[in-house]
Subunit: 401 residues, 2 copies
Amino acid sequence: MKIPKERPEKYKGLKRDFAEEEYINLQPIQRGGILTEEAMRAILEFGDGYSTCDWCPPKTARLDMITSPPIQDFYKDLAEFLGMDVARVVTRCREAKFIAFKMLGRPGDYVVLDSTAHYSSYIAAELAEMKVKEVPNSGPPEFRVDLNEYATKIEEVKKECGRLPAAVLLTHVDYLYGNLNDARIVSKIAREYGVPFILNCAYTAGVMPVDGRELGADIITSSGHKSWAASAPTGILAFNRSLEDKLTARSKIEGDLTKRKFGAKELAMLGCTVMGAPLITLMASFPEVVSRVERWGEEIEKVRYLVSELERIEGVRQLGMRPKLHTLTHMETEGFYKISLKHKRKGFFLYDELRERKIVGIQPGLTKHFKFNTYGLTWEQIRYVRDAFFDIAKKYGLGIS
Amino acid sequence: MKIPKERPEKYKGLKRDFAEEEYINLQPIQRGGILTEEAMRAILEFGDGYSTCDWCPPKTARLDMITSPPIQDFYKDLAEFLGMDVARVVTRCREAKFIAFKMLGRPGDYVVLDSTAHYSSYIAAELAEMKVKEVPNSGPPEFRVDLNEYATKIEEVKKECGRLPAAVLLTHVDYLYGNLNDARIVSKIAREYGVPFILNCAYTAGVMPVDGRELGADIITSSGHKSWAASAPTGILAFNRSLEDKLTARSKIEGDLTKRKFGAKELAMLGCTVMGAPLITLMASFPEVVSRVERWGEEIEKVRYLVSELERIEGVRQLGMRPKLHTLTHMETEGFYKISLKHKRKGFFLYDELRERKIVGIQPGLTKHFKFNTYGLTWEQIRYVRDAFFDIAKKYGLGIS
């Protein structure tokens, strides 16, 4: 098919609309995914198509068996780092959840999940043809998930279906308020009922210490591009030995005529998963990730400081549980909203003002509520962000206590 | 979880075991996936996690709606380039096939496919809980798929199940022999029966001209890292408007308590797919891809020349259909096999000899049969490869006619 010759020209010289090194990026889902220098070098080395597969072992021809680059070792180290027995890198955290649901249950089953779960947890259940039962949260301003209610919800499922849910899923830290949920409460309940417990660590593993064994997780899912200094798309599916047979079940299909079989291939992985650049960034960033989770305490100090400073501005308060236990933060900012009502740029004034001050990542148009993430910012940058907000508040006549 | 401090050190400085610029790489699945310079620049710009999502539109929050970088336009141009109505970039060609099977049929359905299909076509059907019915091929030396037999196989399915197969899949060029199948024969049959026709263009679209409209495809699947000068993992799912409702069906799940719904999200995509580096390489390489498919004729000249030269070596012949219509080539090399029987390195001698001559990509250990791909090699490199094989043949006393 011929398309006009000049049409593809627009794909030359693709650039982000800000130079990363000149701006402070507060984007809630981007802070944990910024590549390390090692990852940047590795992505250039392994950018070409199937370059990770130079040494694909001919007999199994499986990604997790490749020893050069050391993918096989990496999968083991990744599992150990998470306090789990086995790990697979998959294309997205949502795919990890889909695989878990699909391989643990059957169509019509329930998944019990927290009501602050990411949309992709719901849709992963839907693609696996399952229903969801939500565990309530306390609503504003805390939105605290009532973790003990998991037991009630499992009971409800039992009553309704005569069988247990296929799985229980808890979002370790939710995407809305950055609330950290105590996984041990839910794992205890799940264990009592004998239901597999999936801990979705999209925002936690890779930035803060997560030990699946200590937390009682049967499965951990996570997102490489969200929290492991890796390129998208990368997901992590880590699990205990007891679920290995189900999650890594091999292909059984056979050609009716040729009798071809593919018994080495893992069915839910469709054989191989991330055979390329994003996996390599995950591996190359791993040394830094292993060490950075130990510095989580300081990350919490920084976000608490920024929150307490921003709350000095008239009409500004943090939503979600207090004090902050995660760097993802949701602010209610009535003060800025009032300004937006009279501003000719409406809600976009705040984005404009911040951008002028070399700060990006607050969603353009939002002033009543917005989210940010301070992960990995230096103290100097934190103070700079604080000053920028104070400056904007003063410019528009908001009081600062 | 603490892992020993020194353990992650091995993931620093990851390198391929040969410097790409110094070697000729004949790897059958790698030639079409080598990045363009534009793609290399783009992957550095968009290497960070979710960097393609800087301008995710808040209301839909969907990858295919992003206009900066121009993802929305790209999806349209990609569809048009393939002679199809709609395109989505997914994580792998195998995922594209899984999505097609899953959304077009139901568990227990049949997929009719050629017996030279890639294993991932079988496994995609298996994950969708379907069975396969294979269309035979002629066996050695041609392995020509008997395309007219698709009708027979559809009839068999009808008789066995009382309903039509969920889909018919044809591998446009197979991974084993590089045989090009005439899609029009199969599309005509599929249309007569009213069964959706999937053309798997993993080895064709992106390197040679493919016009789905002309070929009668309802769905085209392809692989960015195999044939579009893109990083892994990237797959393409392109389809006609008539299948749009099924393939891009929106999420319908609803939270039982919160009534949360995600009606903007495409179910089979799990919302978003390749939100990062590999997608950007696919886009950045697109201008070159659009122009390179026009040079396919010369690629065929080169492979035919090399095949005819290599066949001058004693005990060497090309398998698959003749003359070559694709650059992926399977050689039977009895001559080299006989040498390997006496060589102290056994089958590895050929790899060693080639590598010494700065040629890689022939699978280590193989001498009786091996595959290579000449796509994108210069005439000078083609002659260099020929000379290297002649040189090795002479060294071990094989005749050259």
